[in-house]
């Protein structure tokens, strides 16, 4: 097996960080919204759709992370 050069390794780490950190950020952001949404749905099930929408809004953060990861990998 050929040893990969250090640049490639750094690129991979960068891509991993982009996805991992944005994933954590999404999780933190969704935590509060999700808890509140579940509470609202328990009171009134017709809040389901709105609750879902509110909960998944921060998911865009991790999608950005994925997009950035691809840009980083593509530039290497």
């Amino acid at each position: 097996m050929v040893a990969p050069d250090i640049g490639q390794g750094l690129i991979a780490i960068g891509a991993g960080l982009a996805i991992g950190l944005t994933g954590i950020a999404t999780g933190i952001a969704e935590k509060g919204i999700g808890a509140a949404a579940v509470g609202a749905i328990a009171e009134n099930p017709s809040f389901f759709a709105r609750g879902l929408i509110m909960t998944v809004i921060p998911e865009t953060i991790v999608i950005f992370g994925v997009a950035i990861a691809f840009l980083i990998l593509g530039s290497g």
Partner: protein
């Protein structure tokens, strides 16, 4: 198909003598959605009263429902269909059955109460059963006093300090005691016990040996249990025999109740009544001819077709209170009908608005198919959907959900075979279109999904544009056009950046963006086509002119919306990668020569595959839903429609004649 059914406002006026015939006829038509009686201001009209027998029907219905609750649930034998006449003529025997069920239940409850009573008595005797003392001796002795109860620690030593003339029985490590002492020492012993936190135990006022009493009580309990078993058998027999009949009776009687209470929706005077409601315009003919047949032409029906607010000329015309707007009945072909569930979960479209169900149906199936992208998981979804249909025959929502699962599963299976060529992560197709583990393919797929997003959101803006044009609102129409330009600009920009990607990016650039000139400007090492810049600038200019500078900020969120579609590809690739990783790790174990390893490996493989399936299905479904709700609906959808609930009966257990 894109708009809810057109409704007409009908006003039915007739003499009170034909009220019953009118109600009967409206009920069997099952097309009118009553509006509440708006009492005329001159005070001639009053609210209608329920017809005779309404309260009898209601109490009958209450009893039938109570009895139905108590029956043992069993699979419907849907072959039996009662006619309304059957039920009417056998009403007495139906009510007898209901009474029998209710009395049996009451009897069972009273037996259960008695069992509870005996169990309490037994619990009281239990602690004493360890002591060889007759029950009467706890209270009837002259020279000796008994202390029975709990103490915090054994009392022997403390007792010896007071006197040796005592008899002590203890249990529970000395903490439950029966202490018999010479009456003379009563107060000393009481003081000592109170220091040991003595809690007195009430000895039941029975006599004889406590164990004998317990055996007696247990005999009585088992006797009662036997009687309860007998009653349970009776209820089970009654369930098997009459649950179909009760279902049918419930349907008939609830129809009777709603007919008898129908006049509550009417305005009446002494001689005539006025009923108002909404009827689909296409059914007006049926309504008028049925009513004139029922009353011999004595009834007058006034019809007013209501155009959606957006198509009316001039500012808001007829009353706009929410109760005044027409109810909404969606019209969809049978394949897209289940997806009404997803639209309703968000909100029912308002009257005259575009019904997005058909777009949701197509995109939801497409998105889920793209994300699942696996023949095996697709087939599993179909099977799951079929099982759901079998289990939830009664619930419309669950059935619709099951159909959605089946349709999306079929899409997933087709994508899986032809695009990635995978089944449970194993390659199955000889020539798959794409290899998900190829980086360049993954990149191209992200771009493809963004282009799909362009179409999806473009339809949303198209709906909004068309509504603004129909409503003659040039400013709003121009701003929709502006958004479309910005959207197209953003996607052109991304397609331009990815145009060198092999093979997807190149194909997209070649076939979809052929109209874009090759020239571009370079910005932070990315070549952005001139056309993209022009489109975004032109769109933004239009937006600033129509909506103000705030639109600049919002355009950023549109960019976020566009990139958001990349999740389709991301989940598809992640799913394939996850299944592939599991297979690579666990397959060698499953084909081990060691039988123990073989079984363990196979078990782990199955568990892991189920895990991937659940994760993938859940996240694919939620993401497809989200793309529709957030990226698509927000562009045009208002919602807040009232559901169309016609006066009548959708029969399940009975037939009319």
């Amino acid at each position: 198909m894109l708009k809810p059914v057109e409704m007409s406002k009908v006003t039915i006026i007739g003499p009170t003598s034909s009220l019953a015939a009118t109600v009967e006829s409206l009920h069997s038509l099952n097309i009118i959605h009553f509006t509440e009686a708006g009492l005329e201001s001159d005070g001639i009209f009053s609210e209608g009263q329920p017809m005779e027998g309404a309260s009898d029907f209601s109490s009958q219905l209450l009893r039938i429902r109570a009895a139905k609750q108590l029956l043992v649930p069993h699979r419907e034998t849907s072959a039996v269909r009662y006619t309304e006449q059957d039920i009417d003529s056998s009403m007495k025997s139906v009510m007898d059955t209901v009474d029998e069920i209710l009395t049996t239940y009451k009897e069972k409850q009273s037996l259960l109460d008695r069992i509870r009573y005996y169990e309490e008595r037994r619990a009281e005797l239990m602690p004493l059963s360890a002591f060889p003392v007759k029950l009467e001796h706890y209270r009837d002795l002259e020279s000796v006093v008994a202390f029975v109860g709990n103490v915090s620690r054994p009392v022997d030593e403390e007792m010896l300090k007071i006197t040796s003339r005592f008899e002590l029985y203890s249990n529970d490590g000395g903490r439950f005691i029966a202490l018999f002492v010479d009456r003379r020492f009563t107060s000393d012993v009481r003081t000592m016990l109170s220091l040991l936190e003595f809690k007195e135990f009430r000895v039941p006022e029975l006599s004889g040996n406590s164990i004998d009493r317990i055996v007696e009580i247990e005999g009585q309990i088992s006797e009662l249990r036997k009687r309860i078993d007998g009653l349970d058998i009776r209820i089970a027999t009654l369930s098997a025999k009459s649950s179909d009949l009760l279902n049918a009776a419930e349907e008939t009687v609830s129809a009777d109740v709603s007919k008898a209470e129908a006049p509550l929706h009417f305005s009446v005077t002494e001689r005539e009544f006025v009923a108002r409601g909404w009827v689909p315009s296409e059914d007006i003919e049926r309504l008028t001819s049925a009513l004139s047949a029922a009353s011999g032409g004595k009834i007058f029906v006034d019809v007013e077709v209501v155009r959606p607010a957006s198509e009316q000329k001039g500012p808001e015309t007829s009353g706009n209170s929410p109760d005044d707007s027409p109810p909404v009945k969606l019209r969809n072909v049978s394949v897209s009908k289940p997806f009404e569930l997803l639209v309703r979960l968000f909100s029912l479209p308002s009257y005259g608005e575009y019904d997005p169900t058909i777009v949701v149906a197509i995109t939801f199936a497409l998105f889920v198919g793209l994300m699942i992208n696996d023949l095996g998981y697709g087939i599993l979804m179909v099977v799951l959907g079929y099982i759901l249909i079998l289990y939830f025959r009664d619930s419309r929502d669950m059935k619709q959900l099951a159909y959605i699962l089946i349709i999306s599963g079929v899409a997933g299976a087709i994508f899986g075979y032809f695009v990635f060529g995978l089944a449970f992560g194993f390659p199955v197709s000889p020539r798959p279109l794409l290899n998900p583990s190829d980086f360049s393919v993954a990149e191209g797929l992200l771009l493809l999904c963004i282009v799909v997003g362009l179409l999806h959101m473009g339809i949303g803006y198209g709906f909004s544009l068309s509504e603004c044009v129909a409503g003659r609102e040039p400013r709003k129409a121009l701003s929709s056009a502006g958004w479309i330009a910005v959207l197209l600009g953003f996607v052109t920009m991304l397609a331009g950046i990815g145009r060198h990607n092999q093979p997807i990016g190149k194909l997209i650039w070649h076939y979809l963006f052929f109209w874009v000139s090759g020239s571009s400007i370079t910005f932070s090492m990315m070549a952005i086509p001139d056309y993209a810049v022009i489109l975004v600038a032109a769109g933004l200019a239009l937006l600033i002119a129509t909506e103000g500078a705030f639109a600049l900020l919002e355009s950023i969120s549109l960019l976020a919306n566009v990139i958001s579609y990349a999740r389709l590809a991301a989940i598809a690739i992640a799913g394939a990668a996850l299944a592939g990783a599991i297979n690579t790790m666990l397959m060698p174990r499953s084909f081990s020569a060691n039988p123990a390893m073989f079984i363990a490996g196979l078990f782990l493989l199955v568990v892991a595959q189920i895990f991937v399936f659940i994760m993938l299905t859940l996240s694919a479904g939620l993401q497809a839903l989200r793309l529709n709700y957030i990226e698509f609906f927000i562009k045009f959808f208002k919602g807040g429609g009232r559901a169309y609930k016609p006066f009548g009966l959708s029969r399940k257990y009975t037939v009319e004649r």
